[in-house]
Amino acid sequence: MQYQSQAVAKPYFIAAIGLFVGQILFGLIMGLQYVMGDFLFPAIPFNVARMVHTNLLIVWLLFGFMGAAYYIIPEETESELFSPKLALLMFWIFLVAGALTVVGYLLVPYAALAKMTFNDLWPTMGREFLEQPLPTKLGIVVVALAFLFNITMTILKGRKTSISLVLLMGLWGLAVFFLFSFYNPSNLVLDKYFWWWTVHLWVEGVWELILGALLAFVLIKVTGVDREIIEKWLYMIIAMTLITGIVGMGHHYFWIGTPEYWQWFGSVFSALEPIPFFMMTVFAFNMVNRRRREHPNKAATLWALGTGVMSFLGAGVWGFLHTLAPVNFYTHGTQITAAHGHMAFYGAYVMVVLTIISYAMPVMRGRAANSNKSQVLEMWSFWLMTVSIVFITLFLTAAGILQVWLQRVSTTPLGFMAAQDQITLFYWMREFTGLVFLTGLVLYIISFFVGGESKEAA
């Protein structure tokens, strides 16, 4: 580790992995509730489990992004963090606030939680992914601002690289677009319209800047390819991301009351959204092929390549599958959406966070790479989790196609629940595959504790 203050990334990464486990456990609960409706009812109804599942995902990815920034920025700027103490303080605040929120979800009926947390004063709760009580939302803003202050001050006093600039823009964008979560008019159409300014402009906008910067950083480290080349790719990728993705938001404005021209803007621009992801794949493979050094951390390289491929498949291909308005007319709000969501989040954001963790954790533990034994185990976990998510996506896609056919296309359409009863088999297969995913995750965690001879840090 070149700079002492990079060490603050460590608790962030550990918390991220811990919350990841929680996310998967709640995913398994929900998966079982799809086929065994009374499982854990009424203790944990489906809507509570889902809220915990999605919110934990968001929070652990944010922990991952923040940890990544604290690790990367000192190295990029060639200077210590502005304030490591502030970073640690924010870590604890974010962790405690996140834990209290999840405990609140699980122990108190949601309506009571809303009342306890002054939702009546400023209603923001009860909207998908933005279910957090008002104090939690305000806490997120405070933590984000303190974090951005810390990172921005560090960059201002040090070397300014393109990677740190792109990362900084992504992180500021994340904070700015979160502010739309405080806008909740009683007009549902307006509510939905601007809800997407947080949700879409995060995951199909500024988060991709963060993704690109993290990937570029790791690729420089593991391949030794010239920074100029990598940063040129980075700019081209994020240029295409925003050129296609900003107006691509129109694919969410097909059927929520918004004018019909959005069907054209949404279809055309979002049909181009796979391009930056394809570039990301080409980029990762190209850089690894042109590598100028053999970095001992093979696992990190594997994660980086996997991010390129899986983000293209999940976000690019599975997104394109249902993004054209005439297709989306039939697939909107079905298991097809769920299929895309799972592979896109895993392929893009989960994998890039695991990439940086895979690269940075050994360094923070005083070695260039883990022992061969540990890396082999980590690579097993890579394949188990990645293959599982592919099959989960395939099973949900099959379920979705059948659902669309039975409920929306057939000349004798079935009702929602009758259609669901017909596709139970695929939900069982999804749940089983979820258990394989969990096995992969357990192996991943074990890989941190496997000893053996490791390469010392240079």
Binding site: F46, V48, E131, L188, V189, K232, G257, G333
Partner: protein, 143 residues
């Protein structure tokens, strides 16, 4: 990429392209805001409809159901439930959910203990939602 294409050119494409398309989004949003009143019939958002939306949110209905296709995919679409089932059915359904659930494979809906006023307002909200011009989505009444 060739040497003639430099990093600063790539950076300019990034800044120029994203600024242009963000401004396009703002312009389209401005136009959408002008057109929306004719499509969302906001003149019909009574205090009951507004309160119904709060009841919807406070009970995290979106955690199982979709509303205009957005939400969770565990339970039926409710954007057109007023047309599909009618207001009385909706109220009776919400009221009659057993608190301890019903054993078996069927998906369970919690008992939310809504007051008669909350039930009426929820129905008002769902009725108004059903009247939004959604370009003929969903494809049929089953949602």
């Amino acid at each position: 990429m060739s040497q003639a294409f430099t990093k600063s050119m790539a950076r300019n494409i990034f800044f120029g392209g994203s600024t242009f398309f963000f401004l396009l989004l703002v312009a389209l949003t401005f136009d959408t805001m002008q057109v929306l009143p004719k499509r969302d019939h906001r003149e019909n958002i009574t205090p009951a409809v507004a309160h119904g939306k709060m009841v919807w949110e406070k009970n995290n209905c979106i955690g199982c159901h979709t509303l205009l296709g957005e939400g969770a995919y565990y339970a039926p679409e409710l954007g057109n439930v007023y047309k599909r089932r009618g207001g009385e059915f909706v109220k009776a359904w919400i009221q009659s959910r057993p608190a301890e659930g019903t054993p078996g494979a069927r998906r369970q809906m919690p008992q939310f203990n809504l007051t008669p006023e909350e039930l009426d307002d929820m129905v008002a909200f769902l009725k108004w939602t059903g009247e939004i011009n959604t370009s003929n989505w969903p494809p049929n009444i089953e949602g």
